[in-house]
């Protein structure tokens, strides 16, 4: 039986937002989230009942994030532009701005693989479907992404060692 779409939003809304933040950065994440769930609502009646709903949502979010990036490339924002929404509260502590810079600096495939693996918790086979390569390539992209993140953001290792 297919559950009401509201349950899908309640169960996966937070994870999809976290994924969007990693792929796009905190400022564009809200837009990508909205586009993702609107598209998902449209397509929901046709989703097979056996489908992995989270992987399906991440797949849609992936496409929406690419759209957002494409638009951003076409209309580059002036550097002094202030984001419209007061999202300060929603963004992880400003102390982690180094982390976001490190995430932003990753090649997009690595950033996506890291988000889908470590934030959404998808299997490499599902990530390969989304990224359009082999399972091995997906595994490598996630591993390389993580390695690069650790290099540029040593904070994670320090924290890990001290805990």
């Amino acid at each position: 039986m297919k559950q009401p779409f509201e349950n899908v939003v309640a169960q996966h809304g937070a994870t999809v937002l976290r994924v969007c933040r990693v792929v796009l950065g905190p400022h564009d994440a809200d837009d990508a989230w909205s586009e993702t769930f609107l598209s998902a609502l449209r397509a929901y009646p046709d989703l097979p009942e056996t489908a992995n709903v989270e992987a399906w949502l991440v797949t849609i979010a992936h496409r929406k994030a690419i759209d957002v990036l494409r638009v951003a490339k076409r209309n580059p924002l002036p550097v002094d532009e202030v984001p419209e929404a007061p999202t300060g509260r929603d963004i992880p502590d400003s102390g982690d701005s180094d982390l976001w810079a490190a995430v932003k600096g990753l090649p997009s495939k690595q950033r996506q693989a890291v988000a889908y693996r470590y934030v959404a918790g998808l299997a490499y086979a599902e990530i390969a479907e989304i990224l359009g390569g082999t399972i091995e390539a997906a595994r490598r992209a996630a591993a390389d992404g993580l390695k690069n993140l650790r290099k540029k953001y040593p904070g994670a290792i320090t924290r890990g060692a001290s805990s």
Binding site: P4, E6, L17, R18, P45, D90
Partner: protein, 205 residues
């Protein structure tokens, strides 16, 4: 071993906190966009009332379901997902007028509901009976036998009982105004306490 711990650490760092306020703001935005795109086949909300928490659900046609808490709102929504459409969203705006009229009813400021109804959850004889229920005026009662006669099938007393028991729009479609021939309550989807409460409310007006 270390790698795994560090992976977990990085995963924890990247899995940023999402507070309830952010999610409800995004939800409201989704409600608006989905309504504009005509993608909400069933909108719902819940309201507090003197007979407990009520679930209100509407299609674009009109109010399609009123449910008491004892019916289990999650189950009711699952049934709507199966019978009507899984495109179900908590979108209170579509129910504003319904909620207002129900509030007025319980405040004794309203005796007749003026709402668009969607009776698509009922078929055949049940639907026929439910269509005639609003003819029983505020503060009045009828017996199951009276209703059977009213719909032109005097022998269908039990079927009238079933039609009342399966009324998808209790309170708004007043099945609580139908009693046994001997004047005792009979059953009620919201429980006998709720039925008594509604009858007393209307009698005291």
């Amino acid at each position: 071993m270390n790698d795994i711990r560090h992976d977990d650490d990085m995963a924890a760092l990247l899995s940023t906190p999402v507070d309830a306020g952010t999610l409800s703001r995004l939800h409201r935005r989704l409600e608006q966009a989905a309504e504009r795109a005509n993608l909400v086949d069933v909108a719902y909300t819940t309201i507090d009332s003197p007979v407990g928490k009520l679930l209100l659900a509407a299609t674009p046609e009109g109010l399609v379901r009123v449910a008491y808490a004892r019916e289990d709102h999650d189950r009711v929504l699952e049934a709507l997902s199966q019978k009507l459409s899984p495109r179900i969203l908590r979108a209170p705006k579509r129910l504003d007028e319904v909620a207002r009229e129900i509030d007025e009813y319980f405040a004794k400021h309203r005796q007749v509901f003026d709402l668009k109804l969607d009776l698509s959850l009922s078929r055949g004889f049940r639907r026929l009976v439910q269509t005639h229920l609003p003819e029983i005026g505020y503060g009045q009662t009828r017996s199951y036998r009276d209703m059977a006669e009213l719909v032109g099938n005097p022998k269908a007393v039990r079927a009238v009982g079933t039609a009342c028991a399966t009324n998808p729009l209790p309170i708004v479609v007043p099945c609580h105004r139908v009693l046994r021939t001997d004047g005792t309550l009979g059953g009620y989807i919201g429980g006998l306490e709720a039925k008594t409460m509604l009858l007393n409310l209307e009698a005291a007006a």
